[in-house]
Symmetry: C2
Subunit: 470 residues, 2 copies
């Protein structure tokens, strides 16, 4: 049997599980359930010999995050970067285009990076079976047996098997998100949920996209042809890709094509689309309470406490999710999960940083995090990975004191180079050109105390940057 090419869609911004998930570090990259991110568990599953080396398609902002998370689990992938967000239609067109360049009949499985599947071996088996139908020309979607009349999914009406006695069914209809009543009727009629994961032959998908959405097809092809290699990432051409209409693959192809099929998937699937779903996936005590991090629950049931840093207590309030992060708290009723997106929109209108950015800011070289702020000072924790180096820079309005608390720093300050060890400090006066490198084998951690009349991140002049940032 020929191998399947997995393509992981990894570009979502995950606002529905704010405040843990934010644009700067969305859902697919955080350990929502268990110790690994859903991106990592998905990638780990693809180590099966049935699969070729995966392609990860994501937003350019996440390139170092992806590389980092792959490194952590020792996985390999080709990383393709979208210069703008154009929804899933153009992304699938790129996936098909890349696969077709290897061989037109390459079988592709497109998987979301932010779903949870309990039975991973089951999913691998399904991919293989669906792959056979895909090789015959079907576009197969994974159909999940509903356990409730959910209104957040599209539904699939199954038809006859593609082969007598086979598991893959022809798709009679692909229907949009229904209201509750309609959903109930769909369930009784044996419909499935659309999980948003697809298996198809590259040339078949290309032909369908070219037929129904020629503008998407042409934009995707041009974006691949003019793609650039940047530090090992494949960056799609920005101008070409921006020409692709913003459309989901459901609207673009699946609702229209007569090649659609489905394979029933009973694999403990969840798209982790709400906090309630996260609670359902978590270990709970007899009262239905689940505590992750430091938390105490009294006189309440069905409570999910998630606390990053500090003690979170709940007394007498049932059926709630309480999420405490370093800079934001959410108290949410189970039934209001779909309102979190609106909350985040509201926070954006109010121009609040917490809407999209975490307190800890990840950079190619590591991360920094503000730990204290005053009128004329700011204190940051800075962590630099072994071998990494920040840009050569200077500031017009602030001086900096660096105190190394772990590892060793190599500090360039104007014409000098200093090695600064644990429990040593160095002073960087206003206007000096400086550069920070971790020459060692362990993480470098330092405390930065900035003082000055203006402390904004934009007071920075970059002279050289190994990560090609502006």
């Amino acid at each position: 049997m020929t191998k399947i090419l997995p393509v992981i869609m990894c570009g979502g911004s995950g606002t529905r599980v704010w405040p843990e998930s934010r644009e700067t570090l969305p859902k697919q990259f955080i350990p929502l359930v268990g110790e690994r991110s859903t991106f990592q568990t998905t990638m780990a599953m693809l180590a099966d010999p049935a699969f070729e080396k995966p392609i990860v398609i994501s937003n350019a902002d996440y390139r170092f995050l992806i590389a980092d998370q792959l490194r952590q689990i020792g996985a390999q992938a080709d990383i393709v970067l979208e210069p703008s967000r154009r929804d899933s239609g153009p992304a699938v067109a790129v996936a098909a285009g890349l696969a077709a360049r290897r061989a037109p009949d390459t079988v592709v499985v497109v998987l979301a990076a932010d779903h949870v599947v309990r039975d991973r071996a089951g999913l691998v088996k399904l991919c293989k079976k669906a792959g056979e139908a895909a090789a015959e020309g079907y576009i197969v979607t994974l159909g999940v047996k509903p356990d409730s009349p959910a209104t957040g999914y599209g539904y699939l009406r199954p038809g006859a098997p593609t082969h007598a006695g086979g598991e893959v069914l022809k798709l009679d209809a692909f229907v949009e998100k229904p209201d509750r009543e309609t959903a109930q009727r769909y369930i009784e009629a044996g419909y499935f949920w659309n999980s948003g994961n697809f298996i198809f032959r590259a040339d078949v998908m290309q032909a369908e996209i070219a037929h129904f959405e020629p503008a998407i097809f042409e934009a995707a092809e041009a974006a691949i042809d003019a793609a650039a290699n940047d530090l090992g990432f494949c960056v799609l051409d920005a101008e070409a890709f921006a020409r692709a209409p913003k459309k989901s693959i459901d609207y673009a192809v699946m609702e229209k094509t007569d090649k659609a099929a489905l394979i029933p998937a009973d694999i403990g699937w969840s798209d982790v689309g709400t906090w309630r779903a996260v609670w359902e996936l978590s270990e709970r005590d007899e009262a239905g309470n689940s505590v992750r991090g430091e938390g105490v629950v009294m006189d309440a049931k069905n409570v999910h406490v998630r606390s990053e840093d500090m003690l979170t207590t709940v007394v007498g309030v049932s059926d709630v999710i309480v999420v405490t992060t370093q800079d934001a708290v959410l108290v949410l009723n189970h039934e209001h999960g779909d309102r979190v997106k609106q909350l985040v929109d509201e926070l954006k209108i109010q121009n609040r940083r917490e809407a999209g950015a975490h307190k800890r800011i990840f950079r190619p070289w590591g991360y920094y995090q503000s730990i204290d702020e005053g009128q004329r000072y700011q204190v940051k924790r800075i962590v630099v990975k072994p071998g990494e180096r920040l840009s050569l820079q200077k500031h017009f309005h602030r001086a900096e004191h660096w105190i190394v608390v772990r590892g060793t720093a190599e500090v360039g300050r104007d014409e000098e180079i200093h090695l600064v060890h644990e429990n040593e400090s160095i002073y960087l006066p206003i206007g000096c050109k400086h550069r920070l490198t971790n020459p060692g084998k362990i993480d470098l951690e330092l405390i930065e105390v900035q003082t000055g009349s203006y402390l904004g991140e934009d007071d920075i002049v970059r002279f050289e940057d190994v990560y090609n940032r502006g």
Copy 2:
């Protein structure tokens, strides 16, 4: 008319409004409602010429806090410190004893430091009226007209006026906290709540205590006679005071004496005994929501959000109090307010610092606060008030870097003295004797980075301390 001597009871630990109120900075000292603490608003009210210079009775731990809060509002008081917590009976015995030493017929008003009174002028008037009855030998308690069958208060059954047409009523019975049904009957029968604020003549109260609780009387008298003056505070003798039985003044005297009277008080009184009471005292929008600090409430009513530092959001959960502090979050149903004390007890059993101590630790010289922690380092913000000085000290396990971010520090390091200005730093190696002073006219703020293998607060050897600490 002779003046009234106010005695403010200021020693409570306020666990019912945890996590804002904790033993290290309890309820009476925090701005629960408005900008000032209830201790401060109480003290401000006593500026009326009807009152003598007040006496504040409190726990020894709170001496510098009290002095500080008085300074902030420009108020004067004599501060009397209890070396141990013995409940209100012994405290009132001390109040009476101190007043009797001025003149046996001194009229005393005992006020709680953690109550809120909307109509402060009304309270002053009531004190004057009650003072007249007290001068005649009555022990008058402020009786509050109930607005609900609360089970958290003792109730007062009023009798005939002490004088025909007078406002002060004889007290027929002093009854303990009832159940809800009984409370309802009490209200219908015209009972009042016992507010826990009393007016009496010193000699009358002394006689009653000596009669009903001679052990309390003798312990209080001995504790006053052997009191010491320490930096201007009157410290009761520890050994003598410890002999006083732990008993409330209600049990010790008020339930037994035939001298009790009450004056009906319609002055917008609250003992702020639960978070719900705080919510009721706060400004609310049409949905009954009240936000203090950074907060957003969606799809909910009767929510009270209190956030010290970070964004707190509530979606779809009504009738809750959400309190976010720097290190602890409480989500509480309105009806479970009386369970907070149990929650704090539970946290104590779990040996959690947050049960009793805030992240910001107040000291006579200012405060410090941990802002970051790692395995071998800790970062603190230290603020020293003008003219204040920390103890001369050394550490065996940690070195310290101090970076001044505001004001000027005078740093003694072994035999040297350094002036360290804003944006300058100094290094204190392990084992050096050092001392920090703020010689300036504005607050000194510095960032302390500690590194070492052990960073506990108990790694400190104190050589000299202007605040007489051990």
